[in-house]
């Protein structure tokens, strides 16, 4: 069932795959982001309560959703690397880590910017904010662990284990924080919890979500390619590549 995947364990094939996918991913990301953002920021109707400031949702929600998805994708890559002994899977995981960390940061930053006018505070120890912050810490841990190893192959394996430990912890963290919050604060600040969002507001949000996903995939392919070239510098095919492009 997974046989079609196996050729990509070879770094050269993975490199070529990234190269072919990349223009499509960038194209889709660009189209979706432009359409979604312009629609959301300029044409979607105002919120009856929050006015124009609700429009930050078009950045905030996609980045928050994808910060979590990226972490899960990292853990899947780490598991694949562990089970099938693929170096490329670890490389993909490492390529995703900083992208996910930046998404988490964007979610936190836009959340703070949104919170100031709406709740009157940059930061509250709300359950979702806290778990997002802890997610950022988990990302930082994985990146720092990888960076500490001189032998990058060993570092990839180590960071993979840490990513898996983190992914087991994410649900526990999520529920513990939620429970802690309700225990300590009683009623939390009610935020954008309208039961259903108007379709003319929802569509740009979904388009932007797809745009962010394509964008993350595109940046990941670029980072994966450079990771592969860096780690496989001594391979003949990399040398040939360098000769062809006239770098070396």
């Amino acid at each position: 069932m997974w046989k079609w995947l196996h050729p990509y364990a070879k770094t050269e094939n993975a490199y070529q795959l990234c190269l072919t996918l990349q223009p499509w991913l960038w194209g889709c990301a660009l189209v979706c982001l432009i359409v979604g953002t312009v629609w959301g920021l300029a044409f979607a109707p105002q919120d009856y309560q929050q006015g124009d400031s609700f429009r930050i949702i078009y950045i905030h929600v996609p980045s928050a959703i994808l910060s979590m998805s990226t972490y899960i994708a990292m853990a899947v890559a780490a598991l694949v690397g562990m089970v099938w002994q693929w170096r490329t899977a670890y490389m993909a995981m490492i390529a995703m880590a900083p992208v996910g960390a930046v998404m988490t940061f964007i979610a936190l930053f836009t959340g703070a910017a949104w919170g100031k006018p709406m709740w009157g505070a940059w930061w509250v120890w709300d359950a979702r904010l806290t778990s997002e912050l802890i997610l950022l810490f988990l990302y930082i841990g994985v990146i720092a662990l990888y960076g500490a190893f001189e032998d990058k192959q060993q570092g990839g394996k180590a960071a993979g284990i840490m990513a898996l430990v983190g992914v087991v912890n994410i649900p526990i963290i999520h529920y513990s924080v939620e429970w802690w919050n309700t225990l300590h604060q009683g009623a939390t600040i009610s935020k954008f919890d309208s039961p259903s969002i108007a379709p003319e507001m929802l569509w740009p949000l979904l388009i932007n979500l797809a745009g962010f996903a394509f964008f993350i995939a595109a940046v990941t392919t670029v980072r994966l390619r450079s990771e592969i070239v860096l780690r496989e510098m001594h391979r003949p095919w990399v040398k040939r590549l360098a000769d062809e492009s006239g770098v070396a």
Partner: protein
Amino acid sequence: MKHLLLGIARRDVRIAFQQKAELVQPIMFLLMVVTLFPLGVSPAPETLQRIGPGVIWIAAILSSLLSMDRLFREDFNDGSLEQYMLSGMPLSGVAAVKVLVHWLISFLPLLVLSPLLAMFLNLTLDMYVALIATLILGTPLLSFVGAIAVGLTVGLQRGGLLLALLLIPVFIPLLIFATSAVDSAALHLPYYSQLAIIGAMLLLAAASAPFAIAYSLKVSQN
């Protein structure tokens, strides 16, 4: 094989008692960290009682990070770890034994010291009972989960701070449940649910962590 694992346990205990300074230092660190809070926050008894459980747990986590760093380091440096791997014993068994011994020598003193800490921070008897229960269930969890990251960083020269970066986010749920159990005890509410969750996390960790530790040690040994 039981014999071999017992031998490892005995060896670790003996080494620990030969290096008394390293045995005593983490617990002194914990005592001093706890002392800082009345001085830094407020010496008012109500305030101390309010923040006490959290302070004791945070201090326990910090001192465990300090002492855990040397869980596998000497074995790694002098080659014993390699011998364990070659010996044909399951490495997960060796790891579990070493973690348990580490728990005995670094957290049992904390349990002994806990009445003093509870007195310093003006905890009531109910709170103290809950605190002891969370410490008994929670500190082995610290050891098991922490040992995974220790196994990963053992080959690195500057592992200490990195270990804290890796582990603090992972320990957050334990901190939350443990302090909430003690808070419930302060209000004379039942706190079995918190203890049950900590116990469940401990069982999960005890069942799966030895394999993760063994794997991470193999990665470090390369």
